[in-house]
Symmetry: C2
C-alpha cells in the first residue's frame, strides 16, 4: 500500500528530497520562521517570486518552474497544485508494474496512440454513456478551447471568480459577460439571481464550474437539474465537473455527476479533467460528455490523435474495475484528511475561510498582511507554495489566497507554518 511515506519518498521538488518527516523539516527552519520583517536575502527572493508570478499571467508558475528559476528556494510543499497525491501514487504503482517493468513503455512512446473514437470506446463503460457521447481531450483545457471556438457564438456568461480559460479562450468575436458571485454571501451561487441574469443577457453559452474554482463553492445536484430545466433555451450549457470527485452531498462520500443527463438536456456539455482527482496533470487527459452530433462536429475536422500513449494507458486503467476500486479508497482517504485540514485552517486567527467542496480552500486575510506577503513568506521561510488570487477577476486584490490539500504530513506542515506566521 502506498501512503504518505511513499509519496514523501517520491516527491522531489527543487533541491529538497522529501524523504524526511515534516517534523524534521519544521525544526530546520523554525529558528527563522517567526512572523516579522523579511531579511534582505528573503526580500530579494520575494521580489524574484513576484516577478515570476507577474510573467506567468493569469496562471501561477508551476512548482518545477519555480524551483528551476529560483534554485535558492527550498520547495517543500506544493499547495498551489490542485491534485490528489495518493492517486498519483496509485497511477505510478500501476505504471511501474504494468508498463515499465514489462518493457511495454516502448510501445507507448514509439507508436501512434489510438484515435479519439477508439479511446472514447474504452471510456464508455466507466463514464456510463455510449462512446458517441464522448469527446476525449488533451487535458480539459483543450476541450474548453474546442467548445468556445466551435460552438460558442456572440455571448458567453461566466461566473466570477472562475477558471480563467473560460474568458481568456473566448474568440475575439465573442462578448464575455460576468455574473459576479458576492463575497458577502460566501460566493454562494444563487440560482434565482442567475436565471434573472440569463434572461437579461441572453447569452448563447453559459459556464458553471461545480465545485467552482477558486472558491470551492458547490451547487447541489437537485438545484442544477432545476436550473437546467429553466435553461433549455440556452444553446450551450458548459458544466465543468473537474473537481466533482471531491464533492459529497451526503455522508457516504458519494458524488453526483450530471454526465448521464445529456439525453434529457441536449444543450448540456459536461467537461471533466483527470488532472485533479487522479493527480496526473503531466499526461494531459480529459473528456467531455455531449450530444453525439457535437462530438461528430468536432471530430469531422480534427482531434484525431490528440491523446498520447500514456494518456491512453491512463484511460485504459480508468476503465478497469480493479484500478477504480483502489482509486476509490484513495479518494475517500484524501477527502477525509482534506476536511480536517480545511477545518484547522478555518480556526486560524486573522483568516476567513470560504466553504469548500473541492480539494482546495479560498482564504481571505482579515489582518494587516497582503496575500502576496503571506505567499512570499510561506514560500521563502517554509518552502510552502500557495497561490495569491490577485490576478483573479472578481476577487478583491491583495487579500485572497488559495491553498490546496496535499498529503497528510504536508498538510500538517502547512498548518504549523500558518500558525507560526500568523502568531
Amino acid at each position: 500500500m502506498i501512503g504518505e511515506q511513499t509519496h514523501a519518498q517520491h516527491l522531489k521538488l527543487g533541491k529538497l528530497d522529501l524523504g524526511v518527516s515534516a517534523r524534521w523539516l519544521e525544526s530546520r527552519v523554525r529558528h527563522s520562521a517567526r512572523r516579522g520583517a523579511l531579511s534582505p536575502r528573503e526580500s530579494a527572493l520575494a521580489e524574484r517570486i513576484k516577478l515570476l508570478k507577474k510573467e506567468a499571467g493569469s496562471h501561477s508558475p508551476s512548482a518545477p518552474t519555480l524551483a528551476k528559476m529560483i534554485p535558492e528556494l527550498r520547495l517543500r510543499v506544493d499547495a498551489c497544485f490542485l491534485s490528489n497525491p495518493y492517486a498519483t501514487d496509485l497511477f505510478l504503482e500501476y505504471l511501474q508494474r504494468e508498463v515499465i517493468r514489462t518493457g511495454r513503455l516502448r510501445k507507448l512512446l514509439e507508436f501512434y496512440p489510438s484515435q479519439n473514437r477508439v479511446i472514447a470506446g474504452k471510456l464508455s463503460g466507466a463514464v456510463g454513456v455510449p462512446p458517441e457521447y464522448l469527446f476525449v481531450g488533451n487535458g480539459a483545457v483543450e476541450i474548453i478551447q474546442a467548445i468556445l471556438h466551435r460552438f460558442t457564438g456572440e455571448k458567453i456568461l461566466v461566473n466570477l471568480p472562475t477558471f480563467s480559460p473560460y474568458h481568456e479562450f473566448a474568440r475575439r468575436e465573442t462578448q464575455v459577460v460576468f455574473n459576479v458571485l458576492s463575497r458577502e454571501d460566501d460566493f454562494w451561487f444563487d440560482p434565482e439571481v442567475y436565471l434573472e441574469r440569463v434572461r437579461r443577457e441572453k447569452p448563447d453559452t453559459i459556464v458553471l464550474i461545480n465545485p467552482n474554482n477558486p472558491d470551492g463553492g458547490y451547487i447541489p445536484y437537485a438545484t442544477l437539474i432545476r436550473l437546467l430545466e429553466e435553461l433549455r433555451h440556452v444553446p450551450n450549457v458548459i458544466l465543468d465537473e473537474s473537481f466533482i470527485h471531491f464533492a459529497c452531498e451526503g455522508d457516504d462520500f458519494a458524488y453526483r455527476s450530471l454526465s448521464g443527463e445529456i439525453d434529457r438536456f441536449p444543450n448540456l456539455m459536461v467537461i471533466k479533467s483527470m488532472s485533479k482527482d487522479f493527480g496526473v496533470a503531466g499526461i494531459r487527459a480529459g473528456y467531455a460528455v455531449m450530444a453525439p452530433d457535437r462530438v461528430q462536429d468536432l471530430l469531422n475536422n480534427g482531434f484525431l490523435w490528440n491523446s498520447s500513449g500514456l494518456a491512453e494507458y491512463f484511460f485504459d486503467l480508468y476503465s478497469r474495475p480493479d484500478f477504480l476500486m483502489e482509486y476509490e479508497r484513495k479518494r475517500v482517504h484524501y477527502i477525509r484528511h482534506s476536511r480536517r485540514f480545511f477545518k484547522a485552517l478555518s480556526m486560524m486567527p486573522g483568516l476567513y475561510t470560504y466553504p469548500t467542496s473541492a480539494n482546495f480552500i479560498l482564504i481571505e486575510l482579515r489582518n494587516d498582511m497582503t496575500a502576496e506577503d503571506l505567499v512570499c513568506r510561506l514560500l521563502v521561510r517554509r518552502g510552502i507554495y500557495t497561490r495569491t488570487c490577485d490576478d483573479k477577476k472578481g476577487l478583491e486584490p491583495t487579500k485572497f489566497i488559495r491553498v490546496a490539500s496535499r498529503c497528510r504530513s504536508e498538510n500538517r506542515f502547512v498548518i504549523r507554518a500558518f500558525r507560526d506566521l500568523l502568531r
Copy 2:
C-alpha cells in the same frame, strides 16, 4: 551502443518477441510462404484485416490495434509505421537513464508541464529561430488543424497524393482544390505547372509536403526558394517538413530546412512532426515556425498546456547538443541502410518503385496482384505490416502500397518475404 540487437530485444508486437533473428523467423514460416492461394484460415484472417482497414477510414489501424483486434496475427515487422527505430532506441536510453532510474518520472506525470511559450524558449536554439517564431503542438497534426481552422480562408490548394488531414481537417467553409501529380512523371512536382495552377485557382492557402507523403518526392531547396519568391501574394504557404531529416541534397547527408526563411517569406509556415525522425509518435510532439503575429494569434485563445510532461522532456533533449550528436549518427545510419533497402525493392520483378527522399517507398504493382492481396499476404504469411494506398486520393486504387524502412534485420526480412511472394 544501441543497434539492431537492442531494438529487436525491445520490440514486442502482437505475440512475438523479436529477440530472435530474422533468419530464424523466416525459417519458421518458409514452408507456407510460397505465393499461391490462401488457405481458408488465411483467407478468413485476410477478410478481418480488410474490415479493420475499412473501419479506420483514411488512416491505417496501428500495429498495436491490429495485434489487439486480431490476436491470431503474428506481427513481426511494422513497415506501415514511418519512423526511425534507432532514434526511438536513443530516446528510450536517455529516458531510462535520466527519468526512470532517477525517479524524475513522477514529476513529469504529476505536475503541469510548462506552457507553450516556455517550451518554445527551450526549442529556440535547436531550431535556430527566436522563441516568438515557434508554435509548439501536440503532434504536427494539431498544428495542421490550428492553421486550417484559424488562418485558412475560402480556398486551399493541396497536391495529390498527400497526407489526408490537409484536406480532411479543412473547415466546411473552405473549398479544397487539388493539384494532381502525375504517375507518368513519377509524381514529380513541376514548379511551372504548379505556379500556373495557383494563378488560375487563386487559393488563400497552399500546402507543400517535402518530402511528400506517400510518394517520397522531393522539391530541392533552390526550387522552393524560387517558388516562394513567386508566391508572395498567397496569404498562407504551409510547408510540411516532417520527413526532411531523411532527405539529403548532397552526398554528405545534410538536409536543408526552410525554417530560417520566415523573415524573408512572412506568409510561410513550416510544420515539423517529431514522430518520424525521432521515432516518438506516442508522445505527440511537433512544432511550427511562423511569423510572430501568427503564433501570438494562436496563443491568444488557447494552446496553453498542449504538451505533456514527456513531450516537454523530449523537447529538453532536442535542445541538447549531446543528444543531437548521438541522434545525428542514428539518422545517417538509418538513411544508409534505408537506401539499400529501397534499392533492393526496386529490383523486384513485377514492382515499380517511385523515387523517394523519405524513409518509405511507394510501390506500384505491375503484375496480376492487387495491393490489398499483397498486403494481406505479407501480413498473414510473414507478419509484415505494409500499407495499401487504396484510400489515398490521387493514386489509382488496387495497385499501390507504401513500405517503410525499419531496422536493418527487419528490412532484410521484408526483402526476403517480397522475393518469395513475388517469385
